[in-house]
C-alpha cells in the first residue's frame, strides 16, 4: 500500500475478513454472555420457579408474579421507592440546578472552591454516608438533635428521626450525597448556553426569570432529561444507603423498605430465590419502560 508523507494510510474495509469485528468484540462478548446474559436468562427462568437449589426446583408458572400483586410488602417497597424518587427529582434536582446557576455566575469569589465543596460528598461511598447519617440522626448525641435541643430548649433530644421520619431522613442523606454530582452536570450544561443569546435577551429587556425560562432552560433540557433519568434509575436501585442507615434492617414497620432491599430480603434472607427473581424482573421492566418513555419524550422535543 502506497502512502504519501502527509496522508495516513487508507485501509479498505475489504482488507478485513467479515468475522474480524466479531473477533475484536469477542472478549467482551464472552464476559457479557457468561456474567450477564446467562444469569439474566437463568433469573428469568427462576422467576417462574420455586427452588432450594438445582436439585429441588418446581415450575410454578406465574405464581410468583401473582403473589407479588397481592403482597402488601412489595407495594410498600414500591411506594417508598416512588416517594424517594419523587424526593430526588422534585427536591434534589431543583436545588442542584439552583446551585449550578449560582456557581455559574462570574462575579462570585471562590467559585472553584465552592464547586469542590459541593461536589466532594459524592466522592465518598454510599456505605460511608449511611454510617455518617446514622450518627447525625442519633437520639440525644446526634448532631441534629443535639443542635436543635441547644437552640430550642423545648425540642426533645430523644426524638427518633430514623423511627418517625425514615424516608425524609433518607432523602436528606441522598441530597447531601448527590446534590454536588448533579450540580456538576447542570454546570456543564450551563456552560454550553450561548452567552450572546443571554446578553441579547438582556438588552431586549428580558428579566432573569424570562432569560432562564426561554433561553437557558431549553438549552439545558437534554442534560436535565438525562439527569432526571439517572436519578430515577439510581432511586430504583436504592439499597446500601437505607440498609446501612437503618442498621441492616428496613426500619421500623418497613418504613425504609425499598424495592431492591425487598429483593435482597426475599432472595437472601428468606431464601425465596424464585420470588426475588420475579421482583428483579419487575424492577427491570419498570426501568426499561421509564427509559423508553424518556427517550420518546426527548425525541419529540427535538
Amino acid at each position: 500500500m502506497r502512502t504519501s508523507r502527509h496522508a495516513l494510510p487508507r485501509v479498505s474495509i475489504r482488507a478485513f475478513p467479515a468475522w474480524a469485528p466479531w473477533f475484536f468484540i469477542a472478549p467482551f462478548l464472552a464476559v457479557f454472555c457468561v456474567f450477564t446474559l446467562w444469569p439474566l436468562g437463568r433469573s428469568l427462568v427462576l422467576s417462574f420457579q420455586q427452588t432450594y437449589g438445582p436439585g429441588t426446583t418446581e415450575f410454578v408458572g406465574f405464581d410468583n408474579f401473582e403473589f407479588m400483586l397481592r403482597d402488601p410488602l412489595f407495594w410498600k417497597a414500591a411506594r417508598n421507592t416512588a416517594l424517594f424518587t419523587c424526593g430526588s427529582i422534585f427536591l434534589q434536582l431543583p436545588l442542584a440546578l439552583g446551585l449550578a446557576l449560582l456557581l455559574n455566575r462570574s462575579g462570585i469569589r471562590g467559585r472553584a472552591f465552592f464547586r469542590l465543596v459541593f461536589f466532594s460528598p459524592s466522592l465518598v461511598g454510599l456505605v460511608f454516608v449511611g454510617m455518617l447519617f446514622a450518627l447525625v440522626f442519633e437520639k440525644r448525641t446526634g448532631l441534629v438533635n443535639y443542635t436543635l435541643h441547644a437552640l430550642i430548649a423545648s425540642f426533645d433530644p430523644e426524638f427518633a428521626w430514623l423511627q418517625n421520619y425514615v424516608l425524609i431522613s433518607l432523602i436528606l442523606a441522598a441530597l447531601w450525597l448527590y446534590i454536588g454530582l448533579n450540580m456538576v452536570y447542570f454546570l456543564a450544561a450551563l456552560q454550553s448556553v450561548s452567552r450572546d443569546l443571554v446578553e441579547a435577551a438582556s438588552i431586549d429587556g428580558a428579566n432573569a426569570w424570562q432569560r432562564f425560562r426561554h433561553i437557558v432552560l431549553p438549552e439545558i433540557l437534554p442534560v436535565a432529561g438525562l439527569v432526571v433519568l439517572m436519578s430515577i434509575i439510581g432511586s430504583f436501585q436504592l439499597f446500601e444507603l437505607p440498609w446501612v442507615l437503618l442498621n441492616n434492617t428496613a426500619g421500623p414497620d418497613n418504613r425504609g423498605l425499598t424495592l431492591v432491599m425487598y429483593l435482597y430480603q426475599t432472595g437472601f434472607l428468606t431464601g425465596d430465590l424464585g420470588y426475588a427473581s420475579a421482583v428483579g424482573w419487575v424492577i427491570a421492566l419498570a426501568l426499561a419502560g421509564i427509559a423508553l418513555l424518556h427517550r420518546r419524550t426527548m425525541r419529540r422535543r427535538e
Binding site: F16, Q50, Y52, T56, R140, P252, D253, N254, G271, D272
Partner: protein, 460 residues
C-alpha cells in the same frame, strides 16, 4: 508493519497480536494450573475471638492427627453465610465443619429435610450421651423437624447489669427486686431531671420498641413464643399480646421508664457510662464486650437475675447462639465429628471462652471448674460464672425456623406500631393496649403465614 512473509497476518496489527497472544497464554496458564488439593479438614468460623480461642486446640489436634489436620479459616459473617448456602444448595465447595450463627444455620433448614447441608447428628448425640452432658435448651436452635444438626457452642443466658454506684447511693436494696414491677417501683426515684428542662435525664432500663433482640428476649422470658413446637408461627398467643402491651407501657407516655441505648454504638456506650441508663439486659457474650469497650464501668456494675414477669417466674432469658455442624460434603465424617467433639467439649476451651469473651460453655460437666466461680472485679467482685450457671438451665427454648428473622421483624413491626398508637391515642395501660396489640399481631401472623406457605419444600 509486518515482514512480507507474514503479510497474511496483517489483518491484525502487531499490538493486537501481542494482546491476543498474552490472552491465550494466560488463559492456558489458568486452565492448566494444578488445582491445589484440599489440605485436611477445612473449618470455617465467622468470629475473630472464636478463631483466636480455637487456635491452640487446632494446633494440638494437628500435631496428634497429622493425617487429618484441620484448616481453620476465619471468614466474614455474610461471606460465610453465602458460601455455606451456595454450597448446600448447588454443590459448590464448602468446609467439612462450619460454625454458624443461629439465623445463618436456620436458613439451611429451609429445604426438605434430606437436603439440609449439615449431617443429622441426632442419633450420635443420643448414643454418645451428649444430650445429657450438654445443657438441654442449647439444642433447640439446631433442631429442625425433630432432627438435630449441630453441636451447641453456648447457652447465652441473660442477666440484668445495673449501675450499683447509683443504686446504692440512693439507698435502694436490689435484693427486694424479684419482678419487673418491683424493679420499676423501687428504682423509680432514680429517674430525675438534672438540668431542670422538664425532661427526664436518667432512665431505668435500656431498650426500645425498635430493638428486636430486646423484644424477643423479654417475650421468651415471659413464656411467649414466635413459633410453636411444630415450628408454626404463633404470634397471636395471648401471652405475646400481654407482653407487647406491657412493653409498650415501658416505652410510651410521660412516665416511660426505658430509653434507647444501642448495644453496639458509641452513643449507647456513652449513655451507660454517663448513667443515662441505670440497667441493661446483658447476655454472657456481652460481658466480654463491655470489659473491652467500657473499662470505665469497671467496679460500678453489679449483676442480678433478670426480674421475672410474675413472682416465682423465670429469672433469665437468652440472646444469640452458635453451633458447629459437620457438612454432608465432608469426605470423612468420623474425623470431622471427632474434631468437633474435641473442640467443643474441651475443658480448656470452656475456660478460654469464659475468660476471653465471657461465654459460658453448654457442657454442664465443666461448670464446676474454678474459672467460673472466681470474683469478677468488673462486676464489683460478683462471680459472673456462678450467676450465669445458676440461670443456664432455665434459658427458654427457641424452635429453629428459617423464618425466625422474618417473625421477629413482624413482632417488632407490631411493637413499633403499638408504640405509635399509644402515643397517638394517649393510652398507656396494658388493658387499653391489648386489643390493638392483638390486631397488629394478627396482621403479622397473616403475613408470616403467607410467606411460609410459599415454601413447598419445608414440610416435605
Amino acid at each position: 508493519m509486518f515482514p512480507k512473509r507474514f503479510a497474511k497476518l496483517s489483518f491484525l496489527s502487531p499490538g493486537a497480536w501481542v494482546i491476543l497472544l498474552v490472552a491465550v497464554l494466560s488463559s492456558l496458564l489458568v486452565a492448566l494450573a494444578p488445582v491445589k488439593p484440599r489440605e485436611g479438614m477445612p473449618l470455617w468460623v465467622f468470629d475473630q475471638n472464636h478463631a483466636r480461642t480455637y487456635t491452640p486446640i487446632v494446633q494440638d489436634w494437628n500435631q496428634t492427627h497429622p493425617d487429618r489436620p484441620v484448616d481453620l479459616k476465619l471468614i466474614q459473617f455474610y461471606a460465610l453465610e453465602r458460601r455455606m448456602l451456595s454450597g448446600f444448595m448447588s454443590g459448590t465447595p464448602v468446609a467439612d465443619l462450619i460454625e454458624a450463627e443461629r439465623m445463618v444455620a436456620a436458613r439451611s433448614f429451609a429445604g426438605p429435610l434430606d437436603r439440609v447441608g449439615f449431617v443429622d447428628l441426632t442419633d450420635r448425640l443420643k448414643a454418645e450421651g451428649l444430650m445429657e452432658q450438654i445443657n438441654a435448651p442449647s439444642f433447640t436452635l439446631w433442631t429442625s423437624r425433630g432432627r438435630i444438626f449441630g453441636l451447641p457452642h453456648d447457652v447465652h443466658p441473660v442477666l440484668l447489669a445495673y449501675r450499683a454506684d447509683l443504686v446504692e447511693a440512693a439507698g435502694i436494696d436490689m435484693n427486694q427486686v424479684e419482678t419487673w414491677d418491683d424493679f420499676f417501683r423501687l428504682l423509680r426515684p432514680l429517674m430525675q431531671d438534672f438540668d431542670g428542662d422538664g425532661r427526664t435525664d436518667r432512665y431505668l432500663l435500656g431498650g426500645w420498641s425498635t430493638n428486636g433482640p430486646f423484644a424477643e428476649m423479654l417475650l421468651l422470658q415471659a413464656g411467649g413464643r414466635l413459633f410453636d413446637e411444630q415450628e408454626q408461627p404463633c404470634l397471636t398467643l395471648e401471652r405475646n399480646v400481654e407482653v407487647l402491651a406491657t412493653l409498650t407501657t415501658w416505652f410510651a407516655g410521660p412516665k416511660r421508664m426505658c430509653t434507647e441505648a444501642p448495644e453496639f454504638s458509641a452513643s449507647g456506650h456513652r449513655m451507660r457510662l454517663e448513667g443515662v441508663v441505670v440497667a441493661s439486659l446483658i447476655p454472657d457474650w456481652m460481658t466480654g464486650q463491655w470489659k473491652r469497650e467500657l473499662p470505665g464501668l469497671s467496679g460500678k456494675l453489679k449483676l442480678l437475675p433478670v426480674p421475672a414477669w410474675e413472682k416465682g417466674g423465670r429469672r433469665t432469658t437468652v440472646w444469640g447462639g452458635t453451633m458447629l455442624g459437620v457438612t454432608r460434603a465432608a469426605p470423612d465424617f468420623e474425623a470431622a465429628w471427632a474434631f468437633a467433639k474435641r473442640l467443643y467439649l474441651a475443658p480448656e476451651l470452656a475456660d478460654a471462652l469464659f475468660e476471653g469473651v465471657g461465654i459460658l460453655t453448654p457442657v454442664k460437666t465443666h461448670w464446676s471448674r474454678p474459672v467460673f466461680h472466681r470474683p469478677d472485679p468488673f462486676f464489683s467482685g460478683q462471680p459472673l460464672g456462678t450467676l450465669l450457671i445458676e440461670q443456664a438451665p432455665h434459658v427458654p427454648a427457641r424452635p429453629a425456623s428459617p423464618y425466625g428473622g422474618l417473625a421477629l421483624d413482624k413482632l417488632v413491626a407490631a411493637l413499633v406500631a403499638l408504640h405509635g398508637y399509644a402515643d397517638r391515642e394517649r393510652r398507656y395501660t396494658v388493658e387499653e393496649l391489648k386489643p390493638e396489640a392483638l390486631r397488629l399481631l394478627k396482621i403479622g401472623q397473616v403475613e408470616l403465614e403467607r410467606q411460609i406457605s410459599r415454601n413447598r419444600f419445608l414440610h416435605r
